[in-house]
């Protein structure tokens, strides 16, 4: 009998989808830029989870390597995003994303 605890690819994908959903909701609803950035990390990690899950399913390392690239990329993106955020805060003294609207037409 198959153990109830056997974790299949489907579980991973569900988890990934849940994480993704959490991330998207965070991005769309939170006003604090820091939290928006954190939510973006969640989305990226959801993608990573999918990549790694499919990598295991297909017995190929390509997906894992790609995941490592994305982690690196996420680190860079977080650094750039926080840098912009600090510059923005110095100008506006706020981290409310609604006030980031200088480029509106």
């Amino acid at each position: 009998m198959q153990s109830m605890l056997h974790i299949t690819t489907l579980h991973y994908l569900v988890l990934g989808a849940a994480l993704f959903l959490l991330g998207v909701i965070g991005v769309l609803t939170r006003r604090n830029v820091v939290i928006v950035l954190m939510s973006i990390e969640l989305i990226l990690n959801a993608v990573n989870l999918n990549l790694v899950a499919f990598s295991r399913l297909w017995g190929s390392l390509h997906g894992q390597v790609f995941a490592i690239f994305i982690i690196t990329d996420a680190a860079a993106e977080a650094a750039v995003g926080l840098g912009i955020l600090i510059a923005f805060f110095r100008n506006k003294e706020t981290v409310n994303i609604d006030e980031v609207n200088l480029l509106k037409w």
Binding site: V24, V27, L28, T29, R31, V36, I97, D98, V100, N101, L103, K104, W105
Partner: protein
Amino acid sequence: MFLTHIWLIPLLPAFGAAVMFFFGRRLQKATVSAVCVGSIVLAFVMVCGAVKQYSAWSSTDANFHQPYQTVLYSWLGSDTGHLTYTMHDGSPASFQADAGFLLDPLSSIWLLFVTGVGMLIHIYSTGYMAHEGGYYRFFGYLNLFMFSMLTLILANNYVLLFVGWEGVGLCSYLLIGFYFHRKSASDAAAKAFIVNRIGDAGFLLGMFFIAWYFGTLRFSEVTHIARSGRFAIGDPIITAATLLLFVGACGKSAQLPLYIWLPDAMEGPTPVSALIHAATMVTAGVYMVARSNALFVLAPASMKTVAIVGALTAIFAATIGLVQNDIKRVLAYSTVSQLGYMFLALGVGAFAAGVFHVFTHAFFKALLFLGAGSVIHAMSGEQDMRNMGDLGHRIPITHRTMFIATLAIAGIFPFAGFFSKDAILWETWSREGGAYRFLWYIGYATALMTAFYMFRLMYLTFHGRPRMDHAVEHHIHESPKSMTWPLVALALCAIGAGWLGWPHSLGGSDRFTKFLEPVFAGEARVLQEEGRTSQLVAGVEEERNTSTEWLLMALSLCAAGLGWGMAWRSYRHADKGYIEPIAAAAPPVYDVLLHKYYVDEAYDYVFTGRRKLGDVRLGVLGLGAASAWFDTHVVDGAVNAAGWITRLSATISSWWDKWIIDGIGVNGPAIVSRWLSYPARLFEWGLVQWYALVMTAGLVGFVCYYVYH
């Protein structure tokens, strides 16, 4: 020794003038007199020595009748040809003027009487000016004048002569305006200077013509070229040059129409009138024309002009002199008239006779002026003859010496004026077969008038009833010795100076003409040839007829006697309110003469523009007004118009920039693109999370699309 140091002659008075200029203010009057009179006495001695040496020098075979020349240095230009120009025929010439001196019979005569009369007048001035302010200034100017005059006489070229010419003009200006606090004096000085400048312009132009035509301005070279026969008689350029030179002479020697300054020049102190405006400076024009005789004989038209202008001036000034009441003005018009005689002589070709009259005139006219000065001195400054009378026995020396001078100028035998005036009249009568005989009548009438106005002056001043105030009458006194002594010396000359030219017809030898022969000999030949041709044309062959000459002499003696008689009849018993015979006979004529033919007024209308002709102003001031009008309206109008046009174009340009360039060119596309971009802008409303929502929605949309298809 005198001859080689001839340059010292002008420098001596220059030294005196320099001392007065630098130290005069601090010097005692006695020192001033010693320096200034001393320098002229020394100059006179040097002149006598130089002339004596020259006559010895020029009678040697080697230098027979040659002029003595000495060049100190080249003053303008040089032998290396730095100042070159092209002559009329295209050949190059170099402009050169030396500080060079020329002594020949002509300059000898001028030197002798200028320094001689000048010396006497200097001595006279020490008495006359004794109580005046500016003593050193007066003598400094006099010495400066002597320097300029001697430079003028001794110059060996036209340029240096011109320097002296301007120098005497300057001194004349300074001395006429000596009483500069008097407006009339400073006006007269300015008038003399300006009128002289007009003549000087002519002189300069004449000089340019000579330089252009002869390539040199040295008298000896110009004379040599002119006598060489290179130029024909009547050459138009030479005629123009000589006419222009004569314009200069007209200014300096007060001939029509430039004589107007000389009567006004009487504003100066009387010794100045005697020295400058009677004896010496005003004869500079005669000297210049005589010096240029070689040119003048080549231009018969100029000669004729000179003769006619001279004769007209003689009678014109004499008529004015008939009625003037200011003692000095009578003498001034007399001077103008006598200068006219001199030019008449030059014009008819009798250069020697003209120079002879200059020579004798210098003595008797200086004497007349000095005598008048003595009268004025005695009369406490009164110059109007209407307020004189009966001075004869109160100032006897002045009276007697002036009487001698009057006899001389009236032409009574055997005083100086008789010989020179008679020589002129005789030459006018006989020259060129009688071609100038019509001028003789003018000269003769002038002689009559001369006698009349001179004896009128004598009778009004020294005879008749006393007409002055008691205060003045009480103060009348004979002048001091320093003034009477020169009068006596000049009186001796006025008697004897004419004897030098005692004519052949009266058994004399006419040494004066003979002495001048080296200067005028060449001319006599040319003129004789001309005269012969015109005689042939006229069909008359007249000998120099001694009996005719005697007849003319007798006639002019009659004229002098007649003038004397008329003056004697009219003025002998002149009392207060005496009647002028001319005023009684023809009041309008008298009025015109008294106002000097209204020439000054006419000049004011026509040349100076001080008076308006209706609403129009002519002359210099009119020219100034017209120029001012032209400047404000045309020149400034053009400037303003240029400014106005600039402003207009700037206005248009800025309007164009604002509305066309900026409006249509720059703002137009911007407005269009703003308008066109409106729909695109609707997407950019500025809320980041809405963008994210749209993206998410799109993503969900795509996913749904792919899942269900």
